[in-house]
């Protein structure tokens, strides 16, 4: 067992990363909320004509629908682009990542559209095909580069290993996200007539609640009207959200169908895919592609800024981990042995040989431990 005298780094990162979906949702709502908030206050101060006030207030009520549409468009953009924006301490940067190469053992294979939710309810949240690769210690430098955090396996001390998520570009995911964005926009337009009942009940709620100032005590008739009107406004807002989301689901579903019926795009054609590599858990693999930092979650309320392959350009299978090696989880100690065995050369000396397709360099210690 070629375990090394060095521990993997699994602590928190301080660098910048491609934002997680929740961060994106936060940003969309914060942006729209701030814009509408300031706008609404100005209009209410500026003595705008009543009809204009009514329209603006009604539109403000649609913040939820508009927020969902914007969120789906942003998600679709991020799903289909290799170049991304990140926020750093110095400002906003536009990054594309770096070409990198790693090797290791595949510990998990996750296909796109797994589960009912991604396929039917929210096709725009589907993830590209993904494999997790437990790497030999030689690649810890790569996984820790750019001050990134690292996913680690849960193993006994000394065998804990670093692993990386590698995504295959999947055209179907990209098309479903775009279809969902178009569907959500159409849904939002269809939901616009609901402005009328929203306003009517909004007026009722505000009118009866306002009347509360006149009656210092309990005014039950007004109280009940107020409660019913507010409840209706809330229900109508939920209906708006439901119509927009239904539009997104239908659009995404149609786009999935279209994607399956059409040949692969040029983007997909120039990359390896999960389907043509036929990779399985336990395979030894070398992966080359674009690596960047993304914010990813591995468990409840725990997200890390980790390096990921977004996306794999080429992948090369190099055998299978023997069955006598513990696989739950894999450890870099065993993978070091498989990729960099000791062999006797022609001069009779024992030397370490590299079997990965990245480089012949075989120092197993990461630079921070040398």
């Amino acid at each position: 067992m070629a375990c090394i005298d060095c521990q993997p780094v699994c602590g928190r990162a301080s660098g910048s990363a491609v934002p997680s979906p929740i961060t994106q949702a936060f940003s969309v709502f914060a942006f729209l909320g701030t814009v509408f908030g300031i706008f609404g206050k100005i209009v209410s101060l500026a003595e705008a004509p009543p009809w204009l006030q009514v329209i603006i207030v009604a539109l403000s009520f649609f913040l939820v629908g508009l927020g969902i549409v914007a969120l789906i468009w942003v998600t679709a953009y991020n799903q289909c682009n290799e170049e991304v924006y990140v926020a750093t301490d110095k400002g906003i940067e536009y990054i594309k990542g770096q070409n990198k190469c790693i090797a290791g053992a595949v510990s998990e294979v996750k296909s796109d559209f797994t589960g009912f939710t991604m396929s039917w309810i929210a096709p725009w949240t589907a993830e590209h095909d993904r494999i997790n690769v437990v790497v030999p210690s030689k690649f810890w430098d790569t996984l820790e580069s750019n001050n990134a955090d690292v996913f680690c396996t849960e193993d006994e001390d000394g065998r804990t290993s670093e692993y990386i998520r590698c995504y295959f570009y999947t055209d179907k995911v990209c098309k479903a996200a775009t279809g969902s964005a178009i569907g959500a926009t159409i849904g939002f337009i269809l939901a616009l007539p609901l402005l009328v009942p929203v306003l009517l009940f909004g007026v009722g709620a505000a009118g009866s609640c306002y009347a509360g100032i006149q009656t210092a005590g309990v005014a039950w008739p007004l109280f009940i009207i107020c409660a019913v009107c507010i409840a209706f406004v809330v229900v109508l807002l939920l209906i708006v959200a439901a119509i927009v989301l239904a539009g997104a689901a239908i659009g995404g579903f149609i786009a999935q169908g279209i994607s399956e019926a059409t040949p692969a795009t040029a983007e997909e054609g120039r990359r390896d895919t999960l389907a043509n590599i036929q990779v399985q858990v336990g395979d030894l693999i070398t992966v080359k592609g674009n690596m960047l930092i993304k914010e990813e979650s591995d468990r409840m309320f725990h997200s890390l800024k980790v390096n990921v392959f977004w996306w794999i350009k080429s992948a090369h299978l190099q055998g299978v981990v023997p069955q006598n090696i513990p696989n739950n989880p894999f450890s870099y100690c065993d993978i070091n042995d498989l990729f960099y065995p000791q062999e006797v050369n022609e001069e009779g000396q024992t030397v370490m040989v590299s079997h990965d397709d990245c480089s012949a360099f075989t120092n197993l210690l990461p630079s921070r431990c040398r």
Partner: protein, 136 residues
């Protein structure tokens, strides 16, 4: 789209500081505060009695809870069972505090802003308490 993404990324550092719980509280507070604010913009002298504020807070809790469950379930891929109770508690506290703070300070037209702050604060505090409990 790129311009829109640039504008959005202005909020990323704030989102990073707040963490997941703060983000969820922030969104709940914003949605709750916004409904109150829009009424205040449209109707001058908008006011709520204590009972009406109670109804407001309860309806808003239901609405924001559904929105938050959707965000956590669909976007962050958490199971309903794992997030239902914590997020309900988060939304309940956020909506009640937002409604009653706005009522006491009479700042209904800025409820959206108050909601953001209160939501983020409630979310972060709940997460901090949760992590302290986990440690002990």
């Amino acid at each position: 789209m790129r311009t829109f993404l640039r504008l959005l990324s202005l909020f990323y550092p704030l989102s990073n500081r707040l963490g997941l719980c703060g983000n969820i509280g922030f969104i709940a507070g914003l949605l709750a505060g916004f409904i109150i604010s829009t009424m205040a913009w449209a109707f001058r002298g908008f006011y709520m009695s204590n009972n009406q504020a109670l109804v407001h807070a309860l309806s808003l809790t239901l609405f924001t809870w559904i929105a938050v469950i959707y965000l956590l379930g669909i976007l962050a891929k958490f199971t309903f069972r794992s997030v239902a109770l914590p997020s309900l508690f988060n939304c309940l506290l956020t909506c009640f505090l937002t409604t009653f703070v706005c009522k006491w300070l009479d700042i209904f037209s800025f409820a959206w802003l108050a909601g953001m702050f209160i939501g983020a604060l409630v979310g972060m505090t709940l997460c901090r308490i949760n992590s302290l409990i986990e440690k002990t």
